[in-house]
């Protein structure tokens, strides 16, 4: 019957189908649906910028308005991918600019962005509204100046954890006086800012809902900004420090009064520098908070932290440092009954770990917060008993990432590997999509993962397993696996080559410091022409007549429709 509806009707129905996966599924039904879907698609997500080319994107989706692109592999976050590996956005922006696509939104993650790219972007799309850059690099504040100056209808400029070279150019002042459309501005990753320009910008943008400041914005300026923007929903403070002398008590008093008026704030972050005695100024808004991110606030600990947490009864997401301790987590468990996401970061990654969390804190959280579905937990140690208890208390995990700081530490009570504990987690959380393992682990944990983790899409493995069987359990069992990243584990060619077709069902596979050899990788590349099998060869270990039997230090393979990339640096070899 659907064939007798005009295309407009189909299109209208498809408007209600918003997720990328659902739209992809719609496009596979028949040629008619493929055609209608592609012309009406506005939002496109490309998880690996090397899997497809900009030209093919434009050819298929001429109406695209919002593009998300991801570049480097995830382990690039941890310094495992060398500089100049790739992930350049320039060819994408050039192609989109040439084609007269009406781009309005660009979201990039782990890509290399140049000032020239930002300049071309700012000049080529008259309706450009939103730029989100996460963990990107390669540009300076000159590029930001171009965006500010040229994007007349800019609504969102969100810079998350990028490496940006800062020039003396006061880019924020490049926003023209006519710019009054900003809704979201985040420059927390910068070191400097022009305060006067910032205050004027906030004053003329009454729709600003999300504002994340950097370290260079002192408390006095924060107070003035909040006076202008009491409608904020999302606030990232900059520096939250006042000296204890009497001159500043006036500033503190003004801040308290101003904050009382900011009744809409639901998300609070920042505190890049903080003096604990200033914290009571934010107590009045704690009761409304649903998201609190204190992962950069190393200056708050112990009793001040606990006082703060006790006021945040409605928290759904909490990002915190491990100096909260197990006792602090018990307070979280008794206060934050709606907690869904918890991230506990290491405050002293290189230290002896005096302030840290253990399995005790995690068990307390799981008992007090049954809605918990997303966890990132850096800890000193973990036990099987604790994991089994957590699995029982919280059967709804979607993301479960555990990082024991000593990567091969067994259960300290029983001295056993943590296979049973993780096994309990995957068995109980049937909707688990993302898992990171750590601690002493044998092949058995992978047997459990292969058996139970039916929805698993992303798995991160470090220092785990005993033999190829481990990796095979995962590849055979996890039907929905999309991303697999493995480091320092004894998996070799036998596991790699057993089911070569599997990799075309996945986005990518990363293996570093494992047992795969050059010969194994070559065999795989030969059998699977639609995979790019890339070897990263940093230390010239393979310079002189590399032998097939030699182990490969870093391998990254991914499915692609466009063959070997042409921008690979000399230390990246694409095997064919």
């Amino acid at each position: 019957m659907m064939n007798y509806f005009p295309d407009e009707v189909l299109e209208h129905v498809f408007d209600f189908v918003t997720s990328h996966r659902d739209r992809n599924a719609v496009s596979l039904v028949c040629k008619l649906w493929y055609r209608v879907e592609r012309y009406s698609r506005q939002r496109v997500f490309i998880g690996n910028c090397y899997a497809i080319s900009p030209e093919r994107l434009i050819a298929r989706f001429p109406g695209v308005k919002s593009l998300t692109l991801k570049g480097k592999p995830h382990f690039a976050d941890f310094n495992l991918v060398p500089q100049d590996w790739g992930g350049y956005v320039q060819p994408w922006i050039e192609a989109l600019a040439r084609s007269r696509i009406g781009l309005e939104e660009l979201r990039l993650k782990r890509m290399v962005v140049s000032d020239e790219s930002l300049d071309v972007l700012s000049r080529s799309f008259t309706n450009f509204k939103s730029l989100v850059l996460v963990s990107c690099e390669g540009f300076t504040t000159d590029g930001l100046a171009a965006i500010a100056a040229n994007c007349r209808f800019l609504r969102e400029l969100d810079l998350q954890e990028n490496e940006i070279e800062e020039k003396k150019n006061h880019w924020l002042g490049c926003f023209p006086d006519s710019c009054t459309s900003l809704v979201s501005l985040n420059f927390a990753c910068l070191k400097e800012i022009n305060l006067a320009a910032l205050e004027r910008l906030v004053a003329r943008n009454p729709n600003l809902k999300s504002l994340k400041l950097n370290r260079a914005v002192p408390l006095e300026a924060l107070q003035r900004i909040l006076m202008r923007a009491p409608q904020l929903v999302d606030l990232g403070t900059g520096s939250f420090v006042l000296d204890r002398d009497s001159d500043d008590s006036e500033t503190y008093r003004k801040l308290r009064t101003t904050i009382l008026k900011c009744r809409s704030i639901r998300n609070l972050s920042g505190f890049l520098e903080v003096a604990p005695h200033c914290l009571p100024a934010i107590y009045p808004i704690c009761v409304n908070l649903t998201y609190l991110n204190l992962s950069y606030a190393a200056g708050i600990h112990g009793s001040e932290l606990i006082k703060l947490i006790r006021l945040c009864g409605k928290l759904q997401r909490l990002w915190i440092l491990d100096c909260i301790g197990d006792k602090g987590l018990e307070i979280v468990a008794s206060t934050c009954k709606d907690l869904q996401e918890l991230r506990v970061f290491p405050s002293d990654p290189f230290g002896a770990g005096h302030d840290a969390v253990t399995e005790t804190g995690l068990v307390a959280i799981s008992s007090g917060c049954p809605k918990l579905n997303s966890l990132l937990y850096f800890c000193q140690q973990m036990t099987n008993a604790a994991l089994i208890a957590v699995a029982k208390n919280c059967p709804n995990f979607i993301r479960f990432r555990l990082c024991i700081l000593d990567p091969t530490k067994p259960d300290p009570v029983t001295m056993q590997p943590l296979d049973e504990g993780f096994g309990a987690i995957v068995q109980s959380s049937k909707r688990l999509r993302r898992l990171s393992l750590s601690g002493l682990l044998t092949d058995r944990v992978f047997l459990y993962i292969g058996m139970y983790a039916e929805q698993l899409e992303m798995l991160s493995i470090a220092f785990a397993g005993e033999s190829d069987k481990g990796m095979l359990y995962v590849l055979n069992g996890c039907k929905k696996l999309r991303k697999l990243e493995i480091r320092d584990s004894p998996f070799g060619d036998m596991a790699l080559l057993r089911d070569v077709g599997k990799y075309e069902t996945m986005r990518s596979l990363w293996m570093s410091s494992c047992d795969v050899t050059l010969g194994g990788c070559k065999t795989l590349a030969k059998k699977m022409p639609r995979l790019n099998v890339e070897i990263i060869n940093e230390n010239d270990q393979m310079e002189f007549a590399p032998e097939d039997s030699q182990k490969v230090e870093k391998m990254y393979l991914y499915r692609t429709l466009v063959g070997p990339r042409k921008d690979a640096p000399e230390f990246v070899w694409t095997l064919v």
Binding site: P407, T408, D488
Partner: protein, 198 residues
């Protein structure tokens, strides 16, 4: 105890007891040429078998966090080629906390300092010092001797002393060879030793 010592130090020494199968080529400060890993892996490099924990577990030893700290010592001020990749946190978070820990005005690092021949020691707040010069000046006010700086001509006499420290591995080292931040991260205690003993 010997094996534990080997565990803690075996990563930097070439020889190790035959009871353990630690990969001796793991040295975070060695340039490429030993391990082809981009950082120090406690488990394996390209050429060796996997680290066998069973011996150590039988001996009742566990790989403690001090082992981990020896493998992944101070970060940004080292001259190693490769930045750290463990624990898996982003560089931005890593460096934010390192800076925080070091210029925390409220924080302190009190360590014991003894002078040879004097049984009662003193305590000294290292975070209150700006660097080696400041440290030497402070110590000069606390103890009745002249401390020779590293690099000065060694005078073998009981009138002069040198400043040494015990590091996380339990070794006694001369103060002043490594960058200040690295020293702060590794020092456990100080001792003023006679110059003719060094």
């Amino acid at each position: 105890m010997l094996l534990l010592g080997t565990l803690l130090m075996g990563i930097t020494s070439e020889q190790h007891s035959s009871a353990s199968s630690i990969d001796s080529s793991c040295n975070p400060s060695a340039a490429a040429g030993t391990s082809s890993s981009s950082f120090c892996a406690p488990i394996q490099s390209n050429n060796s078998t996997r680290f066998d924990l069973s011996t150590d577990l039988r001996l009742g030893l566990s790989i403690s966090s001090s082992y981990y700290n020896d493998l992944f010592p101070t970060p940004t001020t080292t001259t190693r080629e490769q930045p750290l990749s463990w624990p898996p946190i982003r560089s931005i978070l890593r460096s934010a906390h390192l800076d925080k820990a070091l210029d925390q005005k409220q924080a302190f690092l009190f360590i014991k300092i003894y002078m040879e021949g004097i049984p009662i020691g003193r305590k000294l707040n290292l975070f209150a010092q700006d660097g080696y010069d400041s440290l030497m000046t402070t110590i000069a006010h606390m103890f009745p001797t002249t401390i020779l700086c590293p690099g000065a001509d060694r005078v073998h006499s009981d009138k002069y002393h040198v400043l040494t420290y015990e590091d996380k591995e339990g070794d006694w080292m001369m103060v002043g060879d490594v960058p200040w931040e690295m020293f702060l991260n590794n020092v456990k205690r100080l001792k003023i030793t006679r110059a003719d003993r060094c």
